[in-house]
Amino acid sequence: MGERLRPYQVLVGSRMRSQTAYRRSFVSDLLGSVSIGLMEFAEVYVVFSNVDVLGELDFAAAVLLFALANVGFSVADLLVGHVDNLPVYLRAGTLDAYLLRPLPVLAQLITSDVSLRRLGRVVVSVVLLVVALPLNDIDWTAAKVALLVLTPLTAAAVFAGLFVCASAVQFWLVEGSEFANAFTYGGAYASGYPASIFSLPMRLLFTFVVPATFTAYLPVLVLLDLPGPAGTPQWLGWCAPLAALAVWTVALLGWRAGLRHYTGTGS
């Protein structure tokens, strides 16, 4: 296993070294990432300074929701956020270079970059999570602890899968990054708010098409023992791994079809 993964370790290692080589620009990128995280949180703060409860969640619960969703998203963004820049790779001929190497193309693309500067947003989200947990009145059980640990991981997997889907789409839509962003960043945005405030079609979209609600909202309902909107059984809060599996199945099939399209048309 270790031997199989060694090429990727070397690749990722060299990427990390090259990023931290320019210390000052790295630090400023890092601060930029921290401020993006804070700005996003400011929006939640502003909303809750005007209302006490939104979609059955009070401020503390909203912070918990926001933090969980953002830990997942920012980790995914850190690890694979660059894959939706596919047209850049296509234009520069980087993908052709990957095709000439004895490794799977997607694995090379994923390990071709790790945006360490995005650590800033991860840190902001983790700090918010640590602050939010004691603010909420959670009736702790072993299952809930497991759910709390599992949720950011599966959320990261869901968002990473969405990034790969967004990347695959761009084999066909070369100028489709805005369209793809609607699902990745749009999904991330939606996941940070209680889904009950959305209209039913939006809720269905962000549950069954882009499974954003699985990443934080549904698990938060379980953690806080809240009923959620009508027709939302509690067990849905445990289904995030299934959602991640579904997203990755679509992502990998889509990516494979996209790569075939690329070698077929060679455009």
Binding site: V10, L11, G93, D96, L100, P102, P104
Partner: protein, 335 residues
């Protein structure tokens, strides 16, 4: 040795070009970039693959290396179907695209080599020796620690070639490797490539616009035009067939409006009222020395230069010769 390292049969690759026609409709035109290629390459051969821009050279290379699927026909590279067994093939071939970098632009070459060794899973016991050999022979030592983006074009191309050879491939494919290089860099590269062939028996397939590359590095040439093979043979055979002419440009001290007939040459132009004469000749009919001597008898030569036939010219002559042979039937028309 028995099986050819590259086997191409009736290879065809079409591209669909969509262009606006009217407000919403788009016209769809099918263009064949490669149109019925058939050839074999023997293991250990050194072959020049030449043709004008857009003749289908890069498209062919992409199909040989598994980047592009053929529309029709078959390709076997190292006995493998390049697209289906891309990863297996990647271990056996090295490819350099002169105008596209395969190195990591922000990493030093030394680091790129380390990454490539890991990618190809080269044993730690052997690959540093290979790297040292390449660094020594390509003279990479002085800039091994600089990020690739800081290298000059010549340095970068040498780095690219070293990167493509690190895993000791059986087949090295170079797409325009000398484009944009100065004379000295070209020469060093040619010496290196000849040496590698002699040392490791690497098969070489090279596309180029440079006749000197072809002459110095290859023992066989394939000329492709509009996706079709129009010549397969040696360089002397090609020049004999199309009568590719060299042109001697002589500058005289005193103007001579008419040099008269110089044996075995054709007067192409007289410029500056007879101060400069352009004489075309083929190496089969006369030598540069004989031409110079004949001119020297009629006027004092101040300076001279010899222009080699360029690829475009050779291809155009091949085309014209073929059209003449076909009785101008235009059978080579492209849809």
């Amino acid at each position: 040795m028995t099986e050819p390292i590259i086997q191409v049969r009736d290879l065809r690759r079409e591209f669909v070009i969509r262009s606006p026609a009217g407000r919403l409709r788009r016209a769809r035109t099918v263009v064949a970039a490669v149109d019925g290629l058939t050839f074999d390459l023997a293991d250990g051969a050194a072959v020049g693959y030449i043709g004008a821009n857009g003749a289908g050279k890069s498209t062919t290379i992409k199909m040989l290396t598994g980047i592009l699927v053929p529309t029709a026909g078959t390709v076997r590279t190292c006995g493998l179907d390049p697209v289906r067994r891309r990863r297996e093939l990647a271990r056996q071939i090295g490819v350099v695209f002169g105008q596209r970098s395969q190195l990591w632009w922000d990493l030093p070459l030394a680091e790129s080599f380390r990454a490539l060794a890991a990618i190809h899973r080269l044993p730690d016991a052997t690959w540093p020796n290979r790297r040292d050999e390449l660094v020594d022979r390509l003279d990479l030592g002085t800039f091994l620690a600089s990020p690739v983006r800081q290298l000059s074009l010549g340095q970068r191309i040498r780095g690219e070639i070293a990167a493509a050879l690190l895993h000791s491939p059986r087949l090295l494919i170079l797409d325009e490797p000398t484009i944009g290089l100065d004379v000295l860099s070209k020469e060093r590269l040619r010496v290196f490539l000849s040496e590698q062939r002699a040392l490791h028996g690497t098969t070489l397939l090279l596309t180029t616009h440079d006749m000197d590359d072809v002459q110095r590095l290859t023992d066989r040439i394939l000329v492709v035009d509009h996706g079709r093979l129009v010549y397969d043979g040696t360089l002397p055979g090609l020049t004999a067939r199309v009568g590719a002419e060299r042109v001697m440009v002589v500058d005289l001290v005193e103007p001579v409006p008419d040099l008269g007939a110089v044996d075995g040459t054709r007067c192409v132009a007289v410029e500056s009222d007879g101060l400069r004469h352009r004489l075309a000749f083929t190496p089969e009919r006369t030598t540069a020395g004989a031409v110079l001597e004949a001119v020297g008898r009629r006027g004092q030569v101040r300076d001279l230069a010899i222009e080699e036939p360029d690829i475009e010219d050779v291809v155009r002559r091949l085309y014209l010769a073929q059209v003449a042979a076909d009785g101008g039937s235009g059978s080579r028309h492209r849809s």
